[in-house]
Symmetry: C2
Subunit: 244 residues, 2 copies
């Protein structure tokens, strides 16, 4: 079985340095259907490491399913993120394919659209390359939702992000906090929890190219890792030293 | 004459806060000719404010003219940057048109390609909307180059960024520092200065849409500013309050 790739070891090591503490925000770029680029800050939530496919760690983020990045990544699933670790002066640029996991009842629930061979199929303990297991995405979505702050939970009850309102004060009428699922007591909280959890979606990014620049050492170093996509080689990475 | 737009006042105010000190890095997203998004960290160098067009401040960055972002922005000049000001929890997403200003002898020297009506034409003190002046870009390019660190100056003598090398040690054979133009003493430094300055280019970003999210206040606030492009309205901005 392939080990975790070197870029991932470098990234997790950099993230563990005291000088990079709290650097869990990266900038995710997508293109819209008119081929216009868009980029926004996104919070890193976790790495998901397929049990039978550890060579392709998947990045986990979260979103409101009504956000523009969702429709953008449905129309063009290739995205790139830049993770600038200011403390150690490392930059990881990660290109990958985005998969959105919304509520099962949502029209964007396109689990079947995950391509054959994608590492995402192998997150289940029971699966292997030839017989992918059935990962319980709804359980995962619930677990991640529950781990979000009460303020973030409430944010998914708002009108669609980016829609116009008359005044900043309109926001004061929206719910400000929501408890975990199952901990809502009032009827209002229960109703709002249903709305919020319905709008909450997971964002999975399956990397295929990583550009690591180390500006904290002199001379600077740059290394590019490219996932080999030939049949049977999907868990191997080509490594190239490059001019920074 | 129109004043500086409110988004620019907000951005410069946020940048002046002690908690945002040193936050001069943003992430710039472009698309390549295959409509694949790319994003990387870029250092903010300055704002250029057209004397007769103060409503459209232009962002100034720098690059190696051989970098991929240059060919990407020549094939599709619309870019977006995300400027995350962690201290105050403000995010400015700025969409704009990119213009590259390389050495006059460089094939990408396409000053004439700046569209009629672009704010960039009005940086010259003598220009006005109907009679743009002649901004001395070569003087500006030289001035910005001279303000870069000796290490950065030397970086533009390297082989093309992103090209393969055999070993990290190859970098040790490259020049590590270069003085200002005109201050090179050895023949070698003079030769290298010519190469470096020849590869050095300015990056201008002329904004047309700004999405400002304030996550440091509760409830969060979001405001979108769109430049009006109707004839004669190019220096006015529409402001819309939005759901964060």
């Amino acid at each position: 079985m392939a080990a975790q790739p070197r870029w991932f070891q470098a990234l997790t090591k950099a993230l563990s340095l005291p000088e990079n503490k709290g650097k869990t925000i990266y900038q995710l770029a997508t293109v819209d259907s008119h081929n216009i680029p868009h980029v926004r800050s996104v919070g890193h939530r976790d790495f998901l490491i397929p049990k039978t496919y550890p060579a392709v760690p998947v990045l986990l983020a979260t979103t409101d399913v009504r956000a523009a990045k969702v429709t953008q990544s449905l129309s063009n699933s290739v995205a790139e993120l830049a993770w600038w670790l200011e403390g150690s002066q490392d930059q990881f640029r990660i290109a990958g394919k985005v998969t959105i996991i919304p509520a099962p009842s949502h029209p964007f629930h396109t689990m079947n659209a995950i391509p054959k061979g994608s590492a995402i199929h192998f997150l289940d303990e029971g699966g292997d390359k030839d017989h992918p297991g059935k990962y319980d995405w709804e359980k995962k979505r619930r677990e991640v939702y529950d781990s979000m702050s009460p303020y973030l939970k409430a944010s998914w009850t708002r009108p669609p992000p980016g829609s116009a309102i008359n005044s900043y004060d309109d926001a004061k009428a929206w719910p400000q906090k929501l408890p975990k699922l199952g901990e809502a007591e009032s009827e209002e909280d229960k109703r709002n929890a249903e709305i919020a959890f319905g709008n909450f979606a997971l964002v999975l990014i399956e990397p295929h190219e990583i550009d690591w620049i180390q500006l904290g050492i002199f001379p600077h170093q740059r290394t590019r890792f490219t996932r080999l996509t030939n049949e049977g080689n999907g868990d191997e990475w080509k490594e190239e030293i490059q001019v920074p």
